[in-house]
């Protein structure tokens, strides 16, 4: 059973603005039957360029229906420029939060809105032009990168919760990890914002990583006069600092990836990404 907020239940049981506007100014359609959820959003502008009416049709679970319903409520009365700024986090917040496995429902709402605005403006959607990474759910790299940046995602599991990518056959998981690493790197600013309160899972990770370092990794490094210290754990990113002879060793990067990261993945979690903190 999912823990849905009262607000989600309210919008699910008594959805607002169900239907389709005739001769709409903008239409946005996302998702498919195969994917398990789909949303068709239509809106009409009034003579001041403000969204006068918006309606939705949704195939999906309670949170998909609630996200669609609350979205129409939010955008009625907004100009298109204002509406274009609505994020999936805004939708989830208005619902009092969504279970993390259901965040993709809010992402679907935002994508439909974006698609409807692009449709009105006669633009092509930039997101759809990316390279498809997850074939099961048709998710492109651009969509994944944006989700990582906007929602401060720090693990492949989080990417799946937000975009569904990787939730089917699982073949794209390595590629998702690559995109995650590359995106987090370009985005130093986001990293600062990402200092959210640590959750239990992170604490557990730190404990296990410390244990693994002490028991398995340090003895090996110390033999060669080196050492290692754990600096930080952020999602799947493990920041370490090399000490002693490791600092001047030409092979230190290889040690980090081939030895430390391999060991930690083996002992703690498959998805960890080890990096040197500088």
């Amino acid at each position: 059973m999912w823990e849905y907020t009262n607000k989600v239940q309210q919008h699910f049981l008594h959805p607002k603005n169900v239907g389709e506007i005739e001769n709409p100014d903008g239409i946005g359609e996302v998702g498919s039957l195969a994917c398990g959820d789909a949303l068709k959003l239509t809106f009409k502008l009034d003579d001041k360029g403000v969204i006068g009416d918006a309606k939705f049709k949704t195939f999906g679970c309670a949170s998909a229906i609630a996200s669609s319903s609350v979205l129409t409520e939010m955008i009625i009365g907004m100009t298109l420029d204002e509406a274009a700024k609505v994020t999936n986090e805004d939708i989830a917040d208005r619902l009092g939060g969504l279970p993390k496995e259901k965040m993709h429902c809010s992402v679907m709402g935002r994508e439909a809105l974006e698609s409807a605005i692009a449709n009105y403006r006669g633009l092509k959607l930039p997101m759809a032009e990316g390279e498809v990474v997850c074939e099961c759910f048709g998710v492109t790299d651009l969509e994944i990168i944006r989700a990582i940046k906007e929602s401060n995602l720090r693990s492949v599991e989080e990417i799946t919760n937000f975009t569904k990518a990787g939730g089917g056959c699982g073949k794209c998981i390595d590629r998702l990890r690559e995109i995650l690493v590359a995106t987090v790197h370009q985005d130093v600013d986001i990293k600062k914002i990402a200092e959210k309160p640590k959750r239990m899972t992170t604490l557990q990770k730190i404990k296990k990583i410390e244990e693994a370092l002490e028991r398995e990794i340090r003895p090996g490094l110390r033999k060669d006069g080196g050492d290692i210290e754990l600096v930080d754990v952020d999602g799947d990113f493990v920041m370490v600092s090399l000490r002693g002879s490791c600092t001047s060793c030409a092979k230190s990067q290889t040690t980090l990836k081939e030895y430390v990261e391999k060991k930690l993945r083996e002992l703690v979690l498959d998805s960890l990404i080890v990096e040197e903190s500088k």
Partner: protein, 394 residues
């Protein structure tokens, strides 16, 4: 907490109500007779007699001998015990035959044998037809000289489809291959007589037949090579270590006795209720279809797909009327893909996401069926009106 009196419970393949007679039988062993059956003193030892009696009752329901009954903690433990035992008994045999539609207790075990045992295995997962049935010829062809065990469920938990276990076990026996069946959904609903079958291992679970949760049984045919899964004390004649769950064992014994007494009702009155529900839903709701074979099926299960709507949304609307059922939709499982059983049957996505499983028991009434038949059509119509794939003219 919700008052169970107001609940229309049609989710009996998930778990069942503990029969009042079962609870009554258990209470003395929770309140008064707390002794350990292994103790030397009479206060503990007397409890052993209750276990012996329960073992006889379980054996009698299955047509087995009491010494062929091993009490475990659940169906999953029974499944693991059987499969690991066979693999350890025949270390040279590294091939396992199962189906695509097993319960996760068998499916996830078989799919991870290499990691779990540290040895390389070959796994054959038999396909099913669109109605969920197996092809016996394909099964025979799958058996090999290095097959250690066949593990095939007696009845499917999602669709209720029954597999030809008697025939399949006979074929395995002819080839000298051990045969395990996960009969968790079948025990108590269909007659089972192990004396007439070539089954070597059979798993059952207490809470699926109005017994308590946390008690299971593995039937091990006399003479079958056996390696214990839980190693410890001498309990269960060394086949399963751990102090006996006395109250639950006694409860399961009583549940098996009741199941034998209710078997005819299950296959007549409950089946008639199920048929009424099924026919009523299929005729009153357009674009709905039955998943699974029409007749080779448990008497209590109806799995119906309502196209163009999603299962979780249906269930939550049903929940508003206190109607309890399950769905094979992706959203209810916590995964992003719909049920592996429906996908193996080739049920189209349009229908798999909107599948609802109704599973009845002897406690259901005709009034409840009428109530569900009255509430379902507007729920489905309401959601369809909201669905972008639904066209009014359909």
């Amino acid at each position: 907490m919700m008052n169970p009196e107001n609940v229309v419970y049609m989710d009996n393949n998930a778990t069942t109500r503990v029969a009042p007679e079962v609870l009554e039988a258990m209470m003395p062993y929770l309140q008064t007779y707390y002794g350990n059956p292994s103790s030397m003193h009479r206060f503990g030892g007397q409890v052993g007699a209750a276990i012996t009696e329960a073992r006889q009752k379980v054996a009698s329901l299955l047509g087995a001998e009491p010494e062929e009954i091993v009490f475990t903690s659940c169906g999953t433990e029974s499944d693991s015990t059987a499969i690991f035992s066979a693999l350890q008994s025949f270390p040279d045999k590294r091939h396992v035959v199962t189906t695509r539609v097993e319960h996760p207790a068998v499916k996830n075990l078989c799919e991870n044998l290499d990691t779990l045992t540290g040895h390389k295995h070959r796994l054959t997962r038999l396909m099913v037809a669109a109605d969920g049935t197996l092809d016996l010829q394909k099964y025979e062809e799958a058996l090999a000289d290095d097959t250690a065990i066949v593990s095939v469920m007696w009845a499917n938990n999602e669709t209720g489809v029954i597999f030809p276990i008697a025939e399949m076990a006979r074929i395995a026996r002819e080839r000298g291959i051990l045969f395990h069946t996960d009969a968790v959904q079948a025990v108590g609903k269909v007659p089972i007589n192990l004396k007439e079958l070539d089954v070597d291992f059979l798993s059952l679970s207490g809470h699926k037949l109005h017994g308590p949760k946390g008690i299971g049984v593995l039937y091990v045919r006399r003479g079958t090579p056996f390696v214990p899964f839980l190693v410890g004390g001498h309990q269960e004649r060394g086949r399963r270590g751990g102090t006996e769950n006395v109250a639950s064992i006694v409860g399961l014994g009583r549940a098996c006795e009741l199941a034998a007494a209710h078997m005819a009702e299950e296959n007549s009155r409950v089946k008639a209720l199920r048929d009424k529900l099924e026919e009523g839903l299929l005729s009153s709701i357009p674009h709905s279809m039955l998943n699974g074979h029409k007749t080779d099926r448990l008497p209590n299960t109806a799995n119906i797909s309502f196209e163009y709507v999603e299962g979780e949304a249906i269930l939550l609307h049903m929940d508003q009327y206190n109607i309890c059922a399950s769905s094979g939709s992706a959203c209810t499982s916590g995964s992003l893909e719909p049920s592996h059983v429906l996908r193996a049957m080739g049920v189209p996505f349009t229908a798999a996401h909107g599948s609802i499983r109704y599973s009845l028991s002897i406690y259901n009434t005709e009034a409840e069926i009428d109530f569900v038949l009255e509430k379902m059509p507007p729920i489905i119509a309401g959601l369809r009106q909201m669905s972008p794939f639904w066209k009014a003219e359909m």
